[in-house]
Amino acid sequence: MTCAELHEQLDPFFDNELGLAEAQKIQQHLEQCPACEAEYAARLAVRQALQKPEVQFTPPSDLLDQIQAELLKQVRPAPQRKWSLPRFEFPPWLLPSLAGAAAGLVLWLGSNLFLTGNRSSNSLLATVTAQLVSDHMRSLLPDHLTDVVSTDQHTVKPWFAGKLSFSPPVYDLADHGFKLIGGRLDYLGNQEIAAVVFQHGRHFINLFVWPKNESAYPPSTLVQKEGFNIIGWEANGLTMCAITDAAPDTLKIFVELQKQSRMSAE
């Protein structure tokens, strides 16, 4: 075998694409010919360089979630619960009436809230919960989820600063699977409150925040309403309430992460 002949077959030999007989001929030639052996060594060096894991690229951590969300839009499953419809499932002709119904509900609830000093605490709690559910539902309508779209907590937090008299905590929990996707102003009764929006897989979480207020406190243990999971807590004079259609355990983890982030921030 000449060097020229070997050159023709060096790459398939190197890539294990040759038959045994041909491979043996090449092997013999390489053992006797330093020039061809050097060619072989150069290929080996290239391979070793390219196969270092650090040279290859790994996908950004949120890409999988994003693709799953896009894929989900491709299938249109039959609705399971009346109000747990993901936002893309509403047929366009239904949107105006849905938005109207939600807005009407908010107005009705709003007129009852904050005005009724003699309500029992249970019915007050129920009213607050119902209103947060309707806020959450409305946020899932197309283009209602966020007023400021950003995955950067240093963008979302200042955005609130210009609009509210209090400063809601904004932590990016993307490393834990809860991606910050933006913020929004919403209402509880007549009061403006902050809504910090997170995404977990294909589920959205609204984290509502408002200054502590005797007439507007959320459920302090996890409750389920209209197919959503809701839980509230207090921190530094602010009331927080998270609501989502994600699983109860997922919500508990989210709340725990929020509390821990706050502690480590202080």
Partner: protein, 171 residues
Amino acid sequence: MNEKEKLTRFEGEMLPLMNDAYNLARWLVQNEADARDMVQEAFLRAFKFFGGVRGETGRAWLLRIVRNVCYDHLRKRKVHSSEAELENIPDDSSPETDLELKSDIAAVRAALASLPEDFRTVLVLREMEELSYREISEITQVPIGTVMSRLARGRQQLAESLKQMREKDLV
């Protein structure tokens, strides 16, 4: 198979291949933002045609779609900008204590990034994704002989530019 079952099967079979898909896309389009778009587009296209008869493994099939999506994109990009605007490849490898290793990795990335598209593609498919000549031939839609010659020339060029970079460092 209804749409929901199709999605479940697709997620089980195809989403685990996202690392392969992203690495190929990232090396072909040469920046993160475009690579994300390419991978997403490829998965949506794959989902559309998922479930049909395939004469190849799922991985080769998906990478063929990724490659096609990327080449379509690159063709469009070339029409829009006459000069190739190759962005600097940022070194986003994991933090290394060994500085020498880090600069070595940056050098390898830069060398591969500067190879012509066709050579870069076969090298990524062969050395990183470890596909056979037959699979590479199916993905790139060229005969096996062409795969072989592209590999040979790509390897020579890469070896040469790595050698030059090392010599430059020594001076």
